[in-house]
Symmetry: C2
Subunit: 390 residues, 2 copies
């Protein structure tokens, strides 16, 4: 593994004020509380949780959640799986379609590696051709290793997956024909858009449909004589519903670990654990004029696909609104005519609009203990799978 | 410098079809034609060009443009300057505000390093405090080195910079008082939003105002007895106007090297060199259903702050529209009811909406010679300053 850059190594133990900007900072206390809340929630509902590592991309954080009870990780890319495996994660599920021959050979090699150290690899499929290609790669790679295969059904996301119901049956059968190399593991049923519906009632209704569709699909596959060991899916926005469904056996939520401004804007289900913001961009005011201030964090520091960041930790009479200032700048406007603009050099904290692609902009996360005001840098967390696209 | 990852090294010489997806690919022939066009344009108008390296972040590409006549680089961040200096770039202008003490010390150290090897460093300022802090850092760093300092005026961007006119005079005077450590180098006058105005006439009008404001500011500073050696600014969208102004001595355009879908959408000034798209995301179709196909490039592969990518290089009866499918997916819709969707496994090429933040998502660019259909990988270009935020 690459050594830490000198400047970052030197910052361990330093007070928060000395963190150079812009920087992506994790409030470790808040993050650990989020993990405890999630662990407790899963225990109470007797479901497994397999947090999606597309969000944090860090082996260290994956292993931390495993210690708290998580069942391995989900990833979206073979390269993410490889990076996390290299960092010691043993139980990995690629919850996405992979069809390129070379990628499937890498997948097969990784399945063998994980099996050899007592772990396992799983993957999703949504086409007969995808299944045949996967089976071929497993044979080509040689050895005895097998891989768990989930059939993805499209429960409303409108992206990958076959329609729920009858269409999934021949896929389950095709997987079963390739036993023992391929093991039919169940259904991937994730509704991404439903996570971000602002209203509680809309989300509940969307997931009611999802659960019906998943249960119906399971029933049809089992009627064809193939047991369905697991239905997996769900995210931070809707996990109360999948957890209570009696149909889902595993939750894939990822964002709960850090939370973001987009999730915070939505109405909160009372049954949902009170996850806190744990991911912040530290930024500095580098220019001030009569109408606004400018900070040094633009959309190369945080992703804006799900909205702009929110300026955190300011007293009401100092509230600021962040406006897009381009790749390297943020424009800070006073929330009211009475608000005083921050002084040149002032440090501020932003809550990113969307945590997943924000983390992917950074090679390291700066882990702070003791809060953002008086805390110190406890450790630097590597984003092992940053830029792992293939 | 870090060695190239094995898989990338192995890909040199390989045919384009074998590039794993998603990948950021540079059409080297198109890029070199863009460089020649820019060099010729600058020669014809007798202006210098100092391409903005915030876009490509690569020492290799900076040096290539220097060989073609470019005057060093612009950057936005001290860390970008450090990364490019480490890669051999000697003439660097930080066209942005820097106010943090530790960053200004790094700036001073870099100024000394560049001077020692016959190069030089410049920086922008927009406040008396910024000037004092910079001067202090230059003294603290010791040695004999000096730094070129530009006063930034806000010519319409509404971001950093003092208002044009009288407000710039005391800043020029303050810099002059710190001679010889600080050398007043002229005016930074960049109107970012004007670059992206869709209509030719709007852009011409906006830059007419910019040029008047810059000329007036120069006149006032010179009336105060301080010569203004250079006015620098401009970008790919408006460079015909600044170049023809007789007021600007240096063009900072960056995007011309690669171009992007956002720039291509705008009306083209006939006098503007015909820059070509040279940056593409190679992507693969990983799922197909009745209504759409899904490819493996989402907004972790390309930035979407300036719009979604365009699917390139397809015959009209196969035209596809890219819709946002999240971090790792793109949805491909048929442009007309008669269009056939691409088959599973098909490779496609996307033109990113905005080149700068797209490059910043990738550690390497794959340089292809001989075109995207039949070409081969000639070399891997390091994105030296990827993620260089501070
Ligand atoms: C397949 C899948 N499962 C789970 C998640 C996690 O969702 P969240 O981060 O909203 O909790 C995602 C996120 O995109 C996903 O793509
Ligand atoms: C200060 C400055 N100069 C020049 C440019 C280059 O503009 P373009 O990439 O549109 O050519 C930029 C781009 O953002 C910039 O910020």
């Amino acid at each position: 593994m690459k050594p830490l850059p000198e400047a970052l190594r030197a910052s361990i133990g330093a007070r928060v004020d000395l963190i150079d900007t812009p920087a992506l900072v994790v409030d470790l206390d808040a993050m650990e509380r989020n993990i405890q809340r999630m662990a407790e929630f899963a225990r109470k509902h007797r479901v497994r949780w397999r947090p999606h590592a597309k969000m944090h991309k860090s082996a260290e954080l994956a292993l931390l959640m495993q210690q708290a009870g998580a069942q391995g990780v989900c990833v979206q890319k073979v390269a993410e799986a490889e990076a996390l495996a290299a960092g010691g994660v043993n139980d990995i599920y690629i919850s996405n379609q992979v069809v390129a021959g070379p990628k499937l050979l890498r997948t097969a090699r990784l399945a063998a590696q994980l099996a050899a150290r007592g772990g396992r690899l799983a993957i999703a499929v949504d086409s007969p051709e995808g299944i045949e290609r996967l089976a071929e790669a497993m044979v080509l790679a040689g050895g005895e290793a097998s891989i768990d295969v989930f059939v993805e059904i499209d429960v409303g996301q409108g992206r990958c997956g076959v329609p729920p119901g009858e269409a999934a049956v021949p896929l389950a059968q095709a997987i079963a024909r390739h036993a023992p190399r391929l093991r039919f593991a169940g259904l991937q049923a994730y509704h991404g858009r439903a996570q971000h519906l602002p209203g509680m009632a809309e989300r509940r209704e969307a997931i009611a449909g999802v659960v019906r569709a998943a249960a119906d699909t399971r029933q049809r596959i089992e009627a064809a004589g193939i047991p369905v060991p697991l239905i997996t899916g769900s995210g931070t926005g809707t996990l109360v519903h999948e957890a209570a469904s009696g149909v889902y056996g595993e939750l894939q939520a990822g964002s709960f670990l850090f939370m973001d401004a987009d999730y915070a804007r939505n109405e909160r289900e009372p049954a949902q654990p009170q996850f806190e913001h744990a991911l912040f961009v530290k930024t500095q005011v580098i220019s001030v004029c009569d109408t606004h201030a400018v900070c040094d964090a633009g959309h190369k520091s945080h992703a804006i696909d799900s909205g702009l960041p929110v300026v955190a930790l300011l007293p009401p009479d100092r509230a600021l609104r962040y406006a897009n200032g381009g790749d390297e700048h943020g424009l800070l406007h006073a929330e009211s005519p009475k608000t005083r603009l921050p002084a040149l050099g002032r440090m501020l904290w932003l809550i990113p609009g969307h945590c997943d692609p924000t983390v992917n902009l950074h090679d390291h996360l700066i882990g702070v203990r003791g809060g953002l005001a008086l805390g110190t840098v406890e450790r630097i967390i590597r984003v092992d799978a940053r830029g792992a696209l293939t």
